[in-house]
């Protein structure tokens, strides 16, 4: 299925991606940010906070934003 995935970490990424049916939010996070800890990120599905085991649906919008970003 297709979901719209936004990663506001580093260079940023915002595009529609193909994922497995029944994928959960936490699984998607592990796949896309294998070295990150979910507690260090703000994770939203369709602009709402969700549980880690929430199953994604086709067309969902998933955004991941680091809670710590360094300025200068």
């Amino acid at each position: 299925m297709k979901v719209f995935f936004i990663n506001n970490d580093g260079g940023g990424f915002a595009d529609t991606i193909e994922v497995a049916d029944g994928l959960t939010v936490s699984k998607l996070f592990q796949e896309r940010l294998p070295h990150g800890a979910p507690s260090d990120y703000l994770i939203r599905v369709n602009r709402q906070p969700v549980a880690a085991d929430q199953v994604l649906n086709p067309g969902d919008r998933v955004s991941i934003t680091p809670t710590k970003i360094e300025g200068a």
Binding site: N8, A14, T65, T67, G71
Partner: protein, 340 residues
């Protein structure tokens, strides 16, 4: 209540439409590509001269003109690289979000942050963040003011302290990474630019919020350790960082009114590390002050005789070494008078 809700929805929808229109307009403007024709023509003109020089056997001239070619070639290369980067970054960007998505973002902002306000005339979306406390320093609430009409320009948003607690040394610095209401984005620069270009407003405000709640001590306008300023060790007054002096001997902070300067070597001294010549009264550092061997007071080298005794002690020593007159001495008896 329903009427209020309807009015709010109408406002959000109108804002979403205007934001979408502006982003679309910005995209059209940035799509115009201008090839470096002038620079290319310059390259061709130089190449003709090179060929002519070779044809006439002028090797030296050909070499010299060939060197000239490197500049317009470099300029052309840079222009083409810039165009290529723009094309590839625009291709990698998602198409501008829809009115529906922008509207959903505006609605979501109200759920994510404490206070959201919209000004259609000013093209403004203003969001108030949660209070910022970094390493125990209370910096208060900040309002992020995004002027959507300026998206695509250098400064589309400002970060305004609502109850400023600026650095003692710099009133314009309301946050270690905010000066004159401008946030220094560093690691947030690219995600902010992409979010604004693509109309993802919630993402923009989330990234700015993360920046405000993160302290980077290696690259702050004013470090939090200096936020309240330092106190002068001699008078106790808090000093702005620009007015700080440091004792060259013990490195403590002294204000510019209390700092003493050694007359001999011009070192800065606090009151503990400075000495005053007991004779002429000049200020000295510990290294330049000499001590009288007798009274142990501090003196400058000029006022110590042969760097050993001060003038008072020298005089005293001189007095003690002069012999006393005969009448004054009971030990010296007069010789008896010879017999008549």
């Amino acid at each position: 209540m329903d009427q209020n809700l309807a009015a709010i929805r109408k406002l959000l929808l109108r804002a979403a439409e205007r934001i979408r229109d502006h982003l679309h307009q910005t995209q059209i403007q940035s799509a115009e590509i201008v090839l470096p024709d002038d620079q290319w023509n310059q390259c061709e003109a130089i190449l003709r001269r090179i060929r002519l020089a070779h044809h006439r056997g002028w090797r030296g001239a050909a070499a010299a003109v060939t060197e000239e070619l490197s500049i317009p070639i470099a300029q052309c290369t840079e222009s083409l690289k810039e165009i290529f980067q723009r094309l590839t970054s625009e291709r990698s960007s998602r198409a501008i979000t829809t009115v529906r998505d922008i509207y959903a973002d505006l609605v979501a902002l109200a759920g994510e942050f404490d206070d959201v306000s919209i000004g259609l005339t000013e093209t403004l979306v203003a969001v108030t963040m949660a209070p910022v406390v970094l390493e125990g320093v209370q910096l208060g609430r900040f309002q992020v003011r995004l002027y959507w009409g300026r998206i695509g320009t250098a400064n589309p948003y400002y970060v305004v302290a609502l109850a400023p607690n600026p650095a003692r040394s710099s009133e314009e610095t309301t946050h270690p990474h905010v000066i004159n209401d401008r946030l220094c984005e560093r690691d947030g620069k690219v995600p902010i630019a992409r979010a604004l270009r693509e109309g993802r407003l919630v993402d923009f405000f989330h990234v700015v919020n993360s920046l405000l709640h993160t302290y980077n001590p290696a690259s702050a306008y004013v470090a939090l350790s200096d936020w309240e300023g330092n106190a002068c060790v001699d008078c106790g007054e808090t000093i702005a960082a620009d007015d700080e002096c440091r004792c060259d001997a013990c490195d403590v902070v002294v204000c510019d009114r209390c700092v003493l300067t050694c007359e001999r070597c011009e070192a800065w001294c606090c009151s503990e590390c400075s000495r005053r010549c007991g004779s002429c009264g000049v200020d000295l550092c510990r290294r330049c002050a000499a001590e009288c061997e007798d009274c142990h007071r501090a003196f400058c080298e000029t006022c110590l005789s042969q760097s050993v005794l001060c003038s008072d002690c020298q005089e005293k020593q001189n007095d003690e070494s002069v012999p006393a007159s005969p009448s004054a001495s009971p030990e010296i008896a007069t010789a008896p008078a010879p017999p008549a």
